[in-house]
């Protein structure tokens, strides 16, 4: 069962804009934006929030909610206190509103259950901290954050496949599209990872997380190292390397 997502903001425009942004990365997920007061002002209206939660619950039966400042979350909690049926199918996920919504949408698109989607929102908070300059992964193991090497585009495709002692498969692929691993291609990769059901690291970060992929800041010409473990690792590594090497339809 797919999880649907409700986005509650003080501002109707913010909720709508965020649904548009997250929806671009997860086109099959039901995203219900709600926000503002009936007169168009800023705030939270219980009736509107309740209606949005019911719409989402009717669509899929399992709902994860993200809320922005103070009264948005309080209003969601009030709606759940007033309606036990709704409370049974709705989980309020604490986390950063924008990054959390994107992570939630991609996780739901990949078939995560409610717990998985809530965890994606929570983890988005950590990635957010990393994006602020605290935890940039040392992806290439050269002791410096970010890409290493000589800066020249390496060979594309999956020519160099290495099988590790633990059965994991490592290959490389070069980013060819001009904008690198930005939001849309990152979402394509993490959705493919979810679809393959494999455990995948791309330059050392968890490739099921669209936010961690984006935080790599990988630009055109960077050679990405793909490490896949678990059943069907070789096939999954090949699929992902081809996907990255294809330029995501942007070349």
């Amino acid at each position: 069962m797919t999880v649907s997502i409700v986005l509650v903001s003080h501002s109707a425009a913010m909720a709508r804009g965020l649904a548009e942004l997250a929806g671009q990365m997860a086109p099959d997920v039901t995203l219900v934006p709600v926000g503002g007061l009936p007169d168009g002002g800023l705030g939270s209206a219980l009736d509107d929030v309740t209606a949005a939660l019911r719409t989402a619950a009717t669509a899929t039966g399992a709902v994860v909610v993200l809320a922005d400042l103070g009264s948005s979350a309080l209003t969601v909690e009030s709606a759940l206190e007033l309606d036990d049926d709704l409370a049974a199918s709705v989980a309020l996920a604490p986390g950063p509103f924008v990054e959390g919504a994107v992570a939630a949408a991609v996780a739901a698109h990949g078939g995560s259950d409610v717990d998985g989607v809530v965890a994606a929102v929570r983890d988005a908070g950590r990635t957010f901290a990393g994006a602020a300059g605290q935890a940039v992964p040392d992806a290439d193991g050269d002791g410096r954050p970010g890409p290493g090497g000589d800066g020249r585009p390496g060979p594309g495709g999956q020519d160099d496949v290495a099988v590790g002692g633990d059965g994991s498969v490592t290959t490389t692929a070069t980013l060819r599209n001009p904008l690198g691993l930005h939001a849309r291609p990152a979402a394509l990769v993490s959705r493919k990872v979810a679809e393959l059901g494999a455990s995948v690291l791309v330059d050392g970060v968890d490739a099921s997380s669209v936010l961690q992929l984006m935080a790599l800041g990988a630009t055109q010409g960077r050679e990405l190292t793909i490490t896949v473990s678990g059943e069907g690792a070789a096939g999954a590594a090949k699929v992902l390397a081809e996907m990255i090497g294809s330029g995501f339809g942007e070349v």
């Binding site: 007061l37 002002g41 800023l42 705030g43 939270s44 209206a45 219980l46 009736d47 400042l69 103070g70 009264s71 309080l74 209003t75 909690e77 009030s78 206190e81 007033l82």
Partner: protein, 220 residues
């Protein structure tokens, strides 16, 4: 003396009058340390409640209408505030009235029930807002109000309990002035929030003062 639905209705109507009269003061307090909409939000919310009470009164005059309870008035207040206030005080006061309604859904409202009503309201606010005393929120008015009502209930009647609660809420609100906010919108200001009274604590004091005024001249 027992408190009935007419008292509860007078209480809510007087609260509506009070927030209209003090709208500018509440808005000014909130403008200093919050987003400046507390007065407007409460006026909008309580006006909506009064409109619902008016409509209900018209229905109640029809033959066969069921007798009303304090809990009925408080539940109507709760759901209307949640729907119309717009800011954080909507779900906070809404949950307070919702929990208060759950313990006042019977005709015998005695001193013990009044104390339970105030305790339930505070429990609801704490459950929703997760604030603790000393964080410069409405909890700093509600907590001493509940304590004072419990003490007064040992020797007095429900009017004594309400009067003690209102006086303690007023003092508790004033005591928020030197505090540094650590919950709610004012917490973004950090140290700069000291020196300002918390608007939610002040509106709590107005609400409980209205409950006393609603007792009627002979009891107040």
């Amino acid at each position: 003396m027992t408190l009935d639905a007419d008292w509860a209705e007078r209480w809510i109507r007087r609260t509506a009058d009070a927030v209209v009269d003090r709208r500018d003061e509440l808005t000014e307090l909130d403008r200093e340390i919050g987003d400046g909409d507390h007065g407007e939000n409460l006026v909008r919310g309580f006006r909506a409640v009064v409109a619902k009470l008016d409509a209900r009164r018209a229905e109640a005059e029809e033959p066969g209408a069921s007798p009303r309870l304090v809990g009925d008035v408080l539940k109507l207040t709760a759901t209307t505030l949640m729907s119309t206030v717009g800011g954080a005080s909507g779900p906070l006061y809404g949950t307070a009235f919702l929990r208060a309604a759950k313990v006042t859904g019977h005709p015998e409202i005695d001193t013990r029930t009044i104390v339970a009503m105030l305790e339930s309201a505070l429990d609801g606010i704490t459950a929703r807002g997760k604030a603790e005393p000393g964080e410069k929120t409405m909890v700093d008015a509600w907590t001493p109000a509940v304590d004072a009502a419990e003490r007064a209930a040992g020797e007095g009647d429900e009017a004594d309990a309400l009067r003690a609660a209102a006086a303690a809420a007023d003092a508790g609100s004033t005591a928020t002035i030197p505090l540094v906010a650590t919950k709610g919108r004012a917490s973004y200001l950090g140290e700069r929030s000291a020196g300002h009274e918390d608007p939610g604590a002040r509106s709590t004091a107005l609400l409980l003062a209205a409950a006393v005024e609603a007792l009627g001249e002979e009891n107040a």
